[in-house]
Symmetry: C3
Subunit: 186 residues, 3 copies
């Protein structure tokens, strides 16, 4: 274990691949074979599966499972109870009727959340997708297609509803080229 | 405890009624009085309440509570953070204003998920319903009425959107009688 | 710790401010600095953060995080996997690009759930809102604006769909002034 990692006594961390300054809270579980960068915050009741990749400075709030095939790039924010998936047509693998589907891992579709993007509370993210840099998924949205950089998407299924600033605030219709909150110019 | 059951050291299993080959993962809790069949996979942070019935070969992914009154038949797949309910008009039971409602268990409405059905990630299933054999509930859907065998439902409220094969893949509009993925004929 | 509080051996309770008769179930965590009233039921895998306030006789079902800034008044019912928020435009706080946003707590928007209200299973409640007395949020709804006393809201975004009785049952269109279930007159 890297020095400087905080692991709550009631968390389970089996991965040697966790960066400095990362904190893992109660009832969270980071499996062996999961990679977690530096300065991350891994919330309570979260789960980082073998094969998942989490960058640096990532916030994962409570109740989130980050499955094999999911990559969260640096500074991604994942809201509470956000749900990722890694299979499009899931069935119970122990059913002999579907055994053919599970002979290989062809069912696994990876998803990438790019740098700085925010996934709102209780959103659902289907698999095989890319969520662009600093994009924002509204709370409760169901994301079924790729999301562009700096795009805000809302609803179920999630649809574009304007653009957002790096600071997180939507860019207004009046001044689409300048953030009214922080003054950044686009 | 049946031999051949795997219970993670940080899980809680109080039920003597768990079938062979079933695995119960970290921070999951199976209460006394819950029945779980053989060869099931009970994901992390899941909860199987006294009075719940889980068949054989069932997959319950992470963060799912299976309440009293819920029956998951053989080979059901329950995606991550799927939410079941067993009461239509819930109030806080300790409120003296609603004490009449909770004198008996008339508030409890059972729900049955029939053999082989798949409940997609983060879907919500209202109570008093039957989800048919090999039906598929799309991720994020809110199910408010019964679902037929082999039916795919999508959205909030969930509405029919075609039929699916036993293998999980939707049956195409062009060839509704034959699965393009596995070749099964209907 | 007040006498008469039940804390499951696998729960974590760090708050000295928990009322008599309250039960805290497995894998739940009540932080120091959280206030919880008497006769509450705090479900498994739930989390009550420092700065959260929970009244008397409140039911919090499984998998719910009650964040700083959230106040649940007496006799509130919070369904399973309900998701609260306390920030409108969240970003990962460790990102130097957004450091200005997190110098103060101006980002924190409080939410109040008033006496006796019910939040349905898997609903999402945005922040800075007030949910009125005995209001009902339907399962799976995404609440983006205030909800009046006794109002039922449904869908995503949640919209008004009639009124409900204190007992929880919707007031019918035929007899809007009298509850067909319990006979209360409005």
């Amino acid at each position: 274990m890297t020095s400087g990692v905080f692991i709550h006594p009631q968390a389970i961390s089996e991965s040697p691949d966790i960066g400095d300054g990362t904190r893992i809270w109660a009832f969270a579980h980071v499996m062996e074979g999961a990679k977690v960068g530096a300065n991350c915050n891994i919330g309570e009741h979260s789960f980082i599966e073998r094969g998942a990749v989490v960058g640096n400075g990532v916030t994962v709030k409570n109740g989130v499972s980050v499955w094999e095939g999911i990559c969260l790039e640096d500074y991604v924010f994942v809201g509470p109870n956000v749900v990722f998936t890694n299979e499009r047509y899931p069935r119970a693998q122990r059913n002999p009727e579907v055994a053919d589907r599970y002979r290989t891992k062809a069912w696994l579709l990876p998803t990438r959340i790019r740098e700085g993007a925010s996934i709102g509370a209780n959103a659902t993210v289907l698999c095989g997708l890319t969520i662009g840099r600093y994009a924002v998924i509204a709370a409760g949205a169901v994301v079924v297609s790729d999301v562009d950089d700096f795009q805000l998407v809302v609803g179920t299924p999630a649809e574009p509803r304007g653009r957002v600033c790096i600071c997180g605030v939507p860019l207004g219709a009046q001044t689409p080229g300048r953030c009214a909150a922080c003054g950044r110019v686009y």
